[in-house]
């Protein structure tokens, strides 16, 4: 049944529905409703909530609970996600599944608490030290936030890899009618034989990311890379909106993509053949789709983002493989400001393509 859900609470309830039974958090705006919700909700289903002393500690609690085989989660926003990076690197290295929600706010530093996409590169390129990748989902609605959070736990288990649900303050705070996926009983999930949870029958299980021998570590890196390549092959998700005959394509993710949808409709009404391409997985990024669009005749791509030129890096990277050389520009608002559909439409109408968001 559809209910009016706040984004943050939908994420929390979807996690519970997916069988998440351990949540470790620390207060930071604009994601506080997630730990608040979990603090009472997990008790109802026999799970555990701990308000950690820091984000550093919270992510390491996730390491422990996830390593023991329980579906575990934490959430935060920019400054807290930075603190978690150490732990995320260890989790990725030790191949422990977990889900992390980042409701982005504007930065750098303490920045502000208003919506932003300023953690894009941190999220999709690894984020912490060493060579690793986090699987990243970017929901654009409260319904999708619930659906992708639910799915995130399956992806995390399938690949034994951290999965991030990358939202922003707006998605976390807004309310929309949504239906939470049907709850599963975690007892029905496949047994994780690798989990270090005691009762091992004499067969020791070690969860570790230390590999002192270069050959061993290289092999480990090779294994991780194969995993990321498999993700790209099997899990890449995206949405096209009116791109079939488009000359100009806006590229945007999350809430910004919805703003762009409205802009596309405005432009179409004005006779401009605009479309929207929305990556749903940011890692793996759907590069191949951009190539198809460019090869199919789109001659202008505009990265529309709430960051100072982060998404555009992946747009350009994707288009490198195209036979054509389309123009690539950026339209951005940052600092917690959010563009309106008219702003995007006006920018496109002017016809000028800027390589920098301040030009």
């Amino acid at each position: 049944m559809k209910k009016l859900w706040k984004g943050n609470e939908a994420v929390a309830e979807a996690a519970v529905a997916a069988g998440c039974r351990c949540f470790f958090g620390y207060p930071i705006t604009p994601q506080n409703e997630i730990p608040e919700y979990m603090s009472w909700r997990l008790k109802e289903v026999g799970g555990h909530f701990v308000q950690a002393e820091s984000e550093v500690s919270a992510i390491n609690m996730v390491y422990g609970a996830g390593g023991a085989g329980v579906r575990a989660m934490t959430s935060s926003s920019g400054p807290g996600i930075s603190l978690k990076q150490e732990g995320i690197s260890y989790i990725a290295g030790a191949e422990i599944p977990c889900v992390i929600a980042d409701m982005m706010r504007a930065g750098p530093g303490l920045g502000g608490i208003q919506p932003s996409q300023s953690d894009y590169l941190q999220a999709v390129k690894g984020g912490g030290h060493g060579d690793y990748k986090v699987f990243v989902y970017a929901p654009a609605s409260v319904q999708e936030a619930a659906d992708l959070t639910f799915k995130a736990f399956d992806i995390a288990d399938k690949y034994r890899n951290p999965v991030m649900v990358l939202g922003d303050g707006m998605l976390g705070q807004m309310m929309e009618p949504a239906e939470i996926p049907a709850a599963i009983d975690p007892a029905t999930l496949p047994v994780k034989k690798w989990a270090a949870c005691g009762h091992n029958g004499g067969k020791q299980r070690v969860l570790s990311s230390i590999l002192m021998n270069p050959d061993d570590l290289e092999e480990h890196n090779r294994k991780l890379t194969r995993k990321y390549e498999q993700m790209a092959k099997e899990e890449t998700a995206y949405e096209h909106y009116r791109t079939e005959d488009a000359d100009i394509v806006l590229v945007a993710y999350g809430i910004v993509a919805r703003i762009c949808k409205a802009a596309v409709d405005m432009l179409r009404q004005a006779g401009i053949k605009a479309g929207l391409f929305r990556p749903i997985t940011l890692f793996p990024f759907p590069y191949g789709q951009l190539v198809k669009l460019a090869d199919g005749g789109v001659n202008k791509f505009i990265s529309v983002e709430l960051s100072c030129g982060q998404l555009i890096e992946d747009v350009k990277l994707g288009l490198y493989d195209s036979k054509n050389r389309p123009e690539v520009g950026i339209y951005a608002r940052v600092g917690g400001n959010v563009m309106k559909p008219e702003d995007v439409a006006d920018y496109v109408r002017k016809g000028k393509v800027s390589s920098s968001w301040i030009k």
Partner: protein, 176 residues
């Protein structure tokens, strides 16, 4: 599609007014989004929310030009009235100590205190009644939304329903 901005001081019930519009829209199986301002401004300063009600999937929850503006304090009028969409309507509190929007046919001053009578906290609900016909939502949906929002404080349901109806009646008589 209706794009609605509700704005006023924190504590005037602007967030719950917006929320009830979204609730009512959901009761009618329409698409809706409710986007509140958040952070320190919620504590005493001006708070606002954007509500979209749409037959199609809601594209942008961010509203640039509202069809319907509810402004319960002076800063809200200053901030949002200039962006009112053509053919849109602004509903303001008649007791506001300025001549904001006076003389404009698209600005409607609602005597909220008078409508809410003893239930001073119900002024936002009286406003909901006054704007209801412009939201194209049914009275039954608004009533259901009130029952939903106050389900944990049932003692307030009747008085709030009274405010809703007072607002609706006032609008019927005074707004064309």
């Amino acid at each position: 599609m209706k794009q609605i901005i509700v704005s006023g001081f924190g504590g005037q019930g602007v967030i719950s007014l917006g929320l009830m519009i979204s609730y009512a829209a959901m009761k009618e199986d329409r698409n809706t989004s409710f986007l509140p301002s958040y952070g320190p401004e919620m504590r005493g300063g001006t708070a606002n929310c954007s509500v979209v009600v749409s037959e199609k999937e809601v594209a942008s929850p961010v509203i640039s030009r509202p069809d319907l503006l509810v402004a319960l304090n002076v800063p809200s009028v200053a901030k949002f009235l200039p962006n009112l969409a053509e053919g849109g309507r602004a509903f303001i509190d008649a007791d506001m100590p300025v001549d904001a929007g006076k003389g404009r046919s698209d600005v409607i001053a609602v005597p909220l205190k008078q409508l809410a009578q003893a239930n001073l906290k119900g002024q936002n609900i009286a406003m909901l009644g006054a704007i209801l016909s412009f939201t194209e939502l049914q009275a039954a949906s608004a009533e259901a939304a009130i029952r939903d929002v106050f389900k944990h404080k049932p003692q307030f349901i009747d008085s709030n329903l009274a405010c809703l109806h007072a607002g609706m009646e006032w609008a019927e008589k005074n707004v064309r």
